[in-house]
Symmetry: C2
Subunit: 312 residues, 2 copies
């Protein structure tokens, strides 16, 4: 069993944007570099949102300017609308990820758009790319992330049918990779299997990617179900950072090192150096002023040598 699994590192974006301490662009670029040195090959590095709403993500252009393009490394920029997309085009991002929501409630709160308006926004971005085709400086790759797939804090339960329908509409626009996100960490692994199967029916030619939060400790179980359902691409955040330390119950993404441990121990190939990754988790923990909440940054990998173990 040496099936490769791609982990998209989202710590510099989804992790840091939910931390209390705001880090300078230089530190955020350093985080990207350290993650790449530990094995990350796709990193959500920046978000092109207004700093008034998300001060943690201010200076996306500065972060990207500190990251010269490198072969085999993809830096991703998140956008919420066409304006963000245009900003992204002014930087050397390799991929643009368009945030969307499975529900009107979250879409309106997060980006001021109903589901239908989000699909229209995505269609406009796609149309703009078609018009620009063949021009110098080819457009970055385009992906979409659908949030609230396993539940919405405003609209409640989200049905498998709702997800299937919306994934189909996104795929029809020609988006080649679609991420399904459990934004509030409410999913269980059996519903992951069902919604992955539904999404595949709706978008048989798209790459499906999964994005889990560990709010209710089901994150790795959900990842296991996803991999068993044939998923090859998963998001994770170094150290499991994110969530707001002042909002009871908020929790970060599944931790990259926890996911790497589970997968590598089972024989999958992630391309990461686990010890190097744990070192990055501890380093970013110092920067954000609290220990990274991941299990592996506390417990370390296993097996260590028998001699080591006997010393403990």
């Amino acid at each position: 069993m040496s099936r490769p699994i791609t982990i998209v590192e989202v710590g510099p974006r989804d992790g840091l944007q939910n931390e209390r301490i705001v880090l300078e662009p230089t530190v955020r670029a350093e985080l990207v570099r350290r993650l790449e040195a530990a094995g990350a090959r796709r990193i959500e590095a920046v978000s092109f949102v207004h700093p008034k709403y998300v001060p943690q993500m201010a200076g996306a252009e500065e972060v990207m300017a500190l990251l010269p393009p490198a072969a085999g490394r993809s830096r991703i920029g998140l956008v919420l609308n066409g304006k963000g997309y245009d900003r992204a085009l002014g930087t050397p991002v390799d991929e643009v990820n368009v945030a969307m929501s499975a529900t009107d409630g979250f879409g309106l709160k997060n980006q001021g758009l109903t589901v239908d308006q989000q699909v229209g926004m995505l269609a406009d971005i796609v149309a703009g790319r078609r018009n620009a085709e063949g021009e110098p400086g080819a457009a970055p790759a385009l992906t979409a992330t659908l949030s609230c797939v396993w539940g919405c804090p405003f609209d409640g339960e989200v049905s498998t049918g709702q997800v299937e329908d919306l994934v189909g509409r996104i795929a029809e626009l020609g988006v080649g990779e679609i991420a399904l996100a459990d934004t509030i960490g409410a999913g269980d692994p059996w519903s992951v299997t069902r919604k992955v199967e539904a999404a595949r029916r709706a978008a048989p030619d798209a790459v499906l990617r999964l994005h889990f939060h560990d709010t209710r400790n089901t994150g790795l179980a959900n990842a296991h179900a996803g991999v068993e359902a044939g998923i090859d691409v998963l998001d994770a955040s170094v150290g499991g950072i994110g969530g707001c330390p002042f909002a009871p119950g908020a929790t970060g993404n599944i931790a990259t090192e926890d996911l790497v441990y589970m997968l590598e121990r089972a024989g999958f190939e992630t391309g990461y150096d686990l010890d190097a990754l744990i070192a990055v988790a501890r380093w970013i923990g110092e920067k954000i002023g609290r220990p990274a909440p991941s299990a592996l940054s506390r417990a370390g990998g296993w097996p260590r040598s028998t001699a080591d173990a006997a010393q403990r």
Copy 2:
């Protein structure tokens, strides 16, 4: 999908024996009562070990004296040897669980017995029960837990063949339920599937039960794999208590409320009232002087009502 899953609550034993603060028998009996009020039907309530080695478990007889037998409720006592078994017989425990290890290294450290000596010890207990058959005060049910199935801190990796062999030897003695334990939290869900299948080959007539620690955050993923492999009985500890707060890396059992959430959300029946269980987790957190580390005692269940959610 309304398949019932039995959760064996091990917080009063495996949880509390690894906490720094030692609780009086009255508090431990109160914990058992509160857990039963929240829905627990099988509880590892006491351990018949010498208080010199495990002061947290001193006074097992006192705990049991505070728990009058009740229909449909099973209180379990853990024993490490024949001496502990004889002590258990002097109390109204409904089940005796014999601790065993898949490795010589852990067996010698934990109970001064190699694997072969442990099998001999178990055989002696079984023989004693046969001799006493038909006598008044029928013997409590007998189960065995095999530790270090997914790795040993002293002997390193544990093979599927080792587990299959030993489970077969235990089943041959007539033990009707055998628990496989990931003592150091090193397993991954794919290896859970393999070892459950091997154990079932070795003991096709025994009930198999699983016992996971969340040291590396794989506990619920391992539980998911186990349930998918046909397991109907899982151990868990209220609040996820246990592990030693002063030993870096040590971590408790998977939390009962986290497991209940994952299973109930997927439509399985556990018999627990999740909110009542969370209240018990918070109560025991006060008693042990640190918040229970479970995810659900922090985040709460989901869905709440839409109105509640909008208020957050």
